[in-house]
């Protein structure tokens, strides 16, 4: 697929809008349909599209494997960390109200951080799964 000009150019055009739409879904999750799961998959689809068209090596250059695994773990830590912080501040696990100056702002900060953690983990799990399956033959040869 490397030499197909239609795929190459349309991927380059689509890459940024897909991530922008992912971010829109991510931040829309506070008020309506959307959130970390959906946004994570949409953002991951941009990177998977890039890897499909330009090859798995180019995809790994764009988004290195160790960064992928670190961000994957960081999303889960962020989710749990919000809960731990609210416990340290003297409320229950994942009780958002205490995080801000008022309950409303606390809820806002809490949901934003938790959804960001979920989105990070989901997108990185998707990319990691794709990389694992796409480079299966190379693992076997080693």
């Amino acid at each position: 697929m490397h030499n197909n000009p239609i795929l190459r150019i349309s991927t380059k055009i689509l890459f940024a809008p897909i991530i922008l739409f992912g971010l829109y879904v991510q931040f829309h999750g506070d008020f309506g349909p959307g959130g970390g799961f959906q946004a994570g998959v949409i953002v991951a689809s941009a990177f998977i599209l890039y890897s499909l068209v330009f090859g798995i090596e180019a995809g790994k250059k764009l988004f290195p494997l160790n960064v992928n695994l670190i961000l994957l773990a960081f999303g889960g830590i962020l989710y749990g960390g919000v809960g731990i912080v609210s416990m340290i501040l003297g409320d229950e696990f994942l009780a958002y109200n205490i995080l801000g100056s008022s309950p409303q702002s606390g809820q806002h900060i809490g949901i934003l951080l938790v959804e960001f953690g979920v989105g990070l983990t989901v997108s990185n799990v998707m990319i990691a799964l794709f990389n694992a399956f796409a480079s299966y033959d190379k693992i076997k040869e080693k």
Binding site: F31, G32, P33, F37, F133, Y136
Partner: protein, 137 residues
């Protein structure tokens, strides 16, 4: 008029998707196509549950000033959010099993795999080995 005879057309789509998925799982011999069928079957179940939760004119269940807000039932949606995540995990597990079978047998066709198993079985019988010995090693 149509809606009274057809009912809620979501259920017809659920029915069609479910039967397509079931046919693919049972009728196709290729393991990869079986997994595709399983995914389509899953999708039909997701749609079924989302349809249960939807209320006509319902809004997302978020508190606001007006008292008479009708909101959709959030419980099926949350249930299906979990089911989607589990579905991704089971699909990944199934695909990894298919890759493993492919590296072991050199094929992902059910007939080829069973034929190779049968050949191994008859070889064992001819050389006097029983299946028990094979498993004891």
């Amino acid at each position: 008029m149509i809606s009274s005879t057809v009912g809620i057309w979501n259920y017809w789509i659920v029915f069609c998707l479910m039967m397509i998925g079931l046919f693919l799982v049972i009728g196709r011999k290729n393991f990869l196509k079986k997994i595709v069928g399983l995914t389509i079957f899953q999708t039909s179940v997701f749609l079924l549950y989302i349809t249960f939760g939807k209320i006509k004119g319902g809004t997302p269940p978020i508190l606001n000033e007006s008292i008479n807000t009708i909101y959709s039932n959030p419980l099926p949606h949350v249930l299906i959010l979990t089911a989607i995540v589990v579905g991704v995990a089971t699909t990944a597990l199934g695909l990894s099993l298919v890759l493993r079978i492919n590296s072991e047998y050199g094929s992902i066709e059910e007939d080829d795999v069973s034929a190779q198993d049968l050949v191994d079985y008859h070889d064992d019988i001819e050389t006097g080995k029983t299946l028990d010995l094979k498993f004891k090693k």
